[in-house]
């Protein structure tokens, strides 16, 4: 295996816009909001950025094609700007582009931006989207909750978990994230909810109720990366480095062959295994300090706990109910509120997760800060649908770990 990315790249600064129904802002203003915070954190000038990547998913509805919108919004100095799109992993993809550029030596300092403006569609939920002329003739025109809800029917069938037990575990996921989001001023939803509220909410896609689904929001998040050496030369002493970046994309096996049982994400398992290897983590359950996973829906978060090898297969729902992933549990998951409370501006989410992990590692997370000196933090993005998807894992940690 290649030597990997571990400790070759440091995060120089990060920023995150306030997520929500940003009726007041256009996409360029949201990007600027995240950028200004990141630049203040990094302590550099725009002229020092060598290249930039923009992660955004829905061309037609918001940001538009190409890297131009980012270059124009920030008035970048005619550098290379590339737009990346990989469904909900787009934010992490922009980070990957910037990190790889620095790691290769092609750039000293690179920028990753993720942004999405979803509240200009006129309706709730994600825009309906084509998957290409050929696929549209044979694929379904479902919604994101409908696609992910199928995890639950399969999970129950495969693991023999009762409908009520699974629904309760799913509800715990949402109650936990709302409790965390209530402490986060940048979250879209900042209100705690009760088990009863979650369990009795209107059905969106069986068995996912309203509170099992993340919100749809506008938002942007930004990272500036460089080498650890340059970071030190710029005066940084407390350094967070990239430990692993892995991406796995379905090749059609889940959807077309017969080995997959529908209850998990094959790609996440592959990406997680490779990421731990790259980061030198041998026992994620004891070594990870905190995690941000792609909780587009409560059931997604639940099965992801198994797919990233923290919970045993078929037992994730028990760990959830035991509070293992609560803010005061052994490994907090979505300590910032997650997609559940931030909402899910597709291109921004991956960087928003890394942003929270970055703050926690530096002890800058305010009221929600973990007090046990976090060392390794994992973030996970998932795009597409359970039977055909893109999974990304980013592990960052303290440079000395």
């Amino acid at each position: 295996m290649a030597k990997g990315i571990r400790d070759k790249v440091a995060i120089l600064g990060m920023g995150c816009a306030k997520f929500g129904e940003r009726w007041d802002k256009d996409e360029d203003q949201l990007m600027l909001e995240a950028y200004e915070e990141a630049m203040a954190d990094a302590g550099i000038e725009t002229s020092q950025i060598d290249a930039a990547w923009l992660g955004a998913a829905f061309d037609a509805q918001n940001i538009g094609p190409s890297g131009i919108p980012l270059a124009v919004a920030l008035r970048l100095p005619d550098i290379g700007v590339t737009k990346v799109e990989n469904y909900c992993a787009s934010g992490t993809e922009s980070f990957r582009g910037a990190v790889y550029a620095v790691a290769s030596g092609a750039c000293d300092i690179a920028l990753a931006m993720g942004a999405e403006k979803l509240k200009d569609t006129g309706y709730g939920g994600l825009p309906v989207r084509t998957r290409g002329t050929t696929h549209d003739m044979i694929g379904i025109t479902g919604s994101a909750p409908g696609n992910f809800a199928q995890l639950a029917s399969a999970y129950r069938g495969v693991h023999g978990v009762g409908k009520d037990d699974l629904k309760r575990a799913m509800a715990h996921v949402s109650v936990k994230s709302h409790a965390n989001g209530a402490k986060n001023p940048k979250a879209h939803l900042q209100k705690a909810v009760t088990m009863d509220q979650v369990l009795n909410a209107p059905m969106i896609a069986e068995p996912l109720g309203l509170f099992d689904c993340c919100g749809v929001s506008d938002g942007a998040a930004c990272a500036i990366v460089t080498t650890p050496e340059i970071a030190r030369s710029l005066g940084k002493t407390d350094i967070v480095t990239v430990k692993a970046l892995q991406l796995a994309t379905s090749n059609g096996w889940e959807m077309q062959a017969s080995g997959w049982n529908g209850s998990y994400f094959h790609t996440t398992r592959v990406a997680a295994t490779k990421a731990y290897d790259e980061a030198g983590i041998t026992d994620p359950r004891s070594q990870l300090s905190l995690i941000e996973v792609h909780d587009c829906f409560s059931v997604t978060e639940l099965v992801t706990m198994e797919d990233i090898h923290i919970s045993k297969e078929g037992q994730g729902w028990r760990d959830v109910l035991d509070g293992f992933f609560d803010a005061d549990g052994q490994i907090p998951c979505q300590i910032d509120g997650g997609l559940k409370c931030f909402g899910h501006p597709i291109g921004a989410s991956g960087l928003r997760m890394i942003y929270e992990n970055y703050l926690q590692l530096l002890g800058r997370a305010g009221e929600r800060q973990r007090q046990d000196n976090p060392v390794f933090a994992l973030s996970h993005n998932l795009g597409g649908m359970p039977n055909q998807n893109v999974s990304s894992i980013a592990i960052i940690g303290r440079a000395d770990a």
Binding site: T121, G122, Y123, G125, V128, T130, T133, T134, D136, M137, I138, G139, I140, T141, G142, S143, P145, G146, N147, A149, Q150, L151, S153, A154, R156, G157, M203, I204, A205, E206, L208, N251, G252, W253, M255, Q256, A257, S258, G259, N261, G262, M385, P386, N387
Partner: protein, 479 residues
């Protein structure tokens, strides 16, 4: 005895039975005179069905267990064909995965289109699949709305061991306009029923029936099954009496539990008769429309050996009662509900891509790797087998007739569906192969992991901007 005749038969009836009382409950204030018809139920097509999809189902029913490669010609008869210029029989052909070297024709324009198509097939020498289907959209609160129903039937005509042979036929053509519908219009315009009965059915059909019997050299009493494809009560009995046909021979017109299926109805009644006919019996099939077609069949000793897969009786037994008249109106485009912005999604079809993928899209033909045996949908150049991505090894593997099981499912209330919630999920075919598809015709809580499925050819999406409809296969409950 001739070895040319009816080789096989089948039918199709949509699962929903709209209660006529519910129509009257809504419209009775306005059209109180319809009270007398507000009894029983009518079969109504689902939102994703049309005459083409119904004809496909009837044809599948008829072709059960037969080698489809023997079919040389496909005819579809209907007055409600979805395309005015795109051969509808060609879509049926693709859905049935018949060889490309077949002839095809659409027969339309009259309530007796199906019998005319059948007569043409019987007068030829090719093995012809004659399918008939009608999906009518009568005006709300009309008598026709009460009496009509949606259904399809199919017969295979050709050389072999017929279950029935044509003994004689007689046709009369005259421009008697009892009702009409201009091209492109949704609704029929009907003239007074009493005039139609007395000047049409009686004056035109009585002498024609007499002429047919004379041609055949038999008396009316020799008829065992008298099939009159007319919705008006008492007409078959009146015609039988005049022709000397026994009262017991008059067939049920299926008005109580199906309704009159327009141009398809004569074939629907014919398949109903074939289900119970015995060797040596005579069937007189009569259809009316700008004259009439009369066909006299004799049932052969082979009758018991050929059965449809489900048959009209089976399809009639598969039913979901509905009193939701508003839903029916919406599905027929007669009630413009606010469908929301999600319904604005553009469903344009790339005709180039449809042509390239016609076998997969219209025929549900997947691939089977000749090296590893892996079955997959759709077929691809590089095999999906995780251990052997063999290139160029796949052969056609038809999946439409393969039973399947539910692997995952959901009921999605967010995505736009004309019949929310939208049911879809991953399914596994028995013997290999899987796909994600929509479910149709499910009711209540029948849908669960492991449930048995049957694939059905349906409308996937309507492209309202261009007047195109996209077809694909959906999974329905097996039965």
């Amino acid at each position: 005895m001739s070895d040319f005749g009816i080789l096989a038969f089948g039918a199709y009836v949509p699962i929903t039975r709209l209660q006529r009382s519910s129509i009257h409950a809504t419209n009775g204030w306005f059209a109180g005179g319809l009270r007398g018809l507000a009894k029983g139920e009518k079969a109504v097509a689902n939102w994703d069905e049309d005459s083409v999809t119904m004809a496909v189902e009837a044809a599948r029913d008829a072709l059960e267990g037969l080698d489809r490669a023997t079919v040389q010609r496909v005819a579809i008869a209907s007055t409600t064909l979805p395309f005015a210029d795109r051969q509808n029989a060609g879509i049926v052909k693709e859905a049935l995965n018949l060889p490309d070297a077949v002839g095809a024709l659409d027969v339309a324009g009259s309530q007796r289109a199906a019998t005319s198509a059948l007569l043409a097939a019987l007068g030829g020498h090719e093995t012809t699949l004659v399918a008939a289907a009608d999906l009518t959209t009568p005006k709300p609160a009309s008598e026709r709305e009460m009496t009509s129903g949606d259904a399809a039937a199919a017969v295979l005509v050709g050389t072999g061991t017929p279950i029935a042979t044509l003994v004689a036929s007689h046709s009369v053509t005259m421009d008697f306009v009892d009702h009409f519908r201009e091209a492109g219009e949704a609704h029929d315009y009907d003239w007074e029923a009493r005039w139609v009965r007395d000047e049409g059915f009686a004056r035109i059909m009585n002498p024609a029936i007499a002429a047919l019997l004379k041609k055949a050299g038999i008396e009316g009493a020799a008829i065992d099954h008298f099939l009159v494809s007319v919705a008006v009560k008492g007409v078959p009995e009146m015609l039988a009496k005049k022709a000397g046909i026994g009262e017991g021979a008059v067939a049920d017109t299926l008005g109580a539990n199906l309704g009159h299926a327009g141009a398809a109805h004569a074939l629907v009644m014919f398949t109903a008769a074939l289900e119970k006919a015995k060797a040596g019996e005579r069937i007189l099939l009569a259809s009316f429309g700008q004259g009439c077609d009369l066909l006299l069949f004799e049932v052969t000793g082979a009758i018991g050996s050929v059965k449809p897969r489900i048959g009209l009786s089976g399809w009639l037994a598969r039913r979901i009662e509905s009193s939701n008249y508003a839903k029916y109106l919406f599905h027929r485009g007669l009630l413009p509900l606010d469908r929301g912005m999600r319904a604005e999604h553009d469903s344009k079809t790339a005709l180039t891509a449809l042509w390239r993928n016609r076998k997969a899209v219209l025929g549900l033909v997947g691939g089977r790797c000749t090296k590893t045996g892996t079955v997959q949908f759709p077929k691809s150049e590089v095999s999906v087998n995780a251990n052997d991505h063999a290139v160029g090894t796949q052969e056609d593997y038809p999946l439409a007739e393969v039973p399947a099981k539910v692997m995952t499912w959901t009921a999605d209330a967010l995505t736009y569906s004309p019949d929310p919630p939208s049911y879809y999920g991953n399914i596994d075919f028995v013997g290999g192969g899987r796909m994600m598809t929509e479910f149709t015709d499910f009711a209540g809580d029948a849908l669960d992991v492991g449930a048995d499925l049957r694939m059905m050819f349906r409308i996937k999406a309507y492209d309202e901007n261009r007047g195109f409809r996209r077809y694909f296969w959906k999974a329905a409950p097996a039965f």
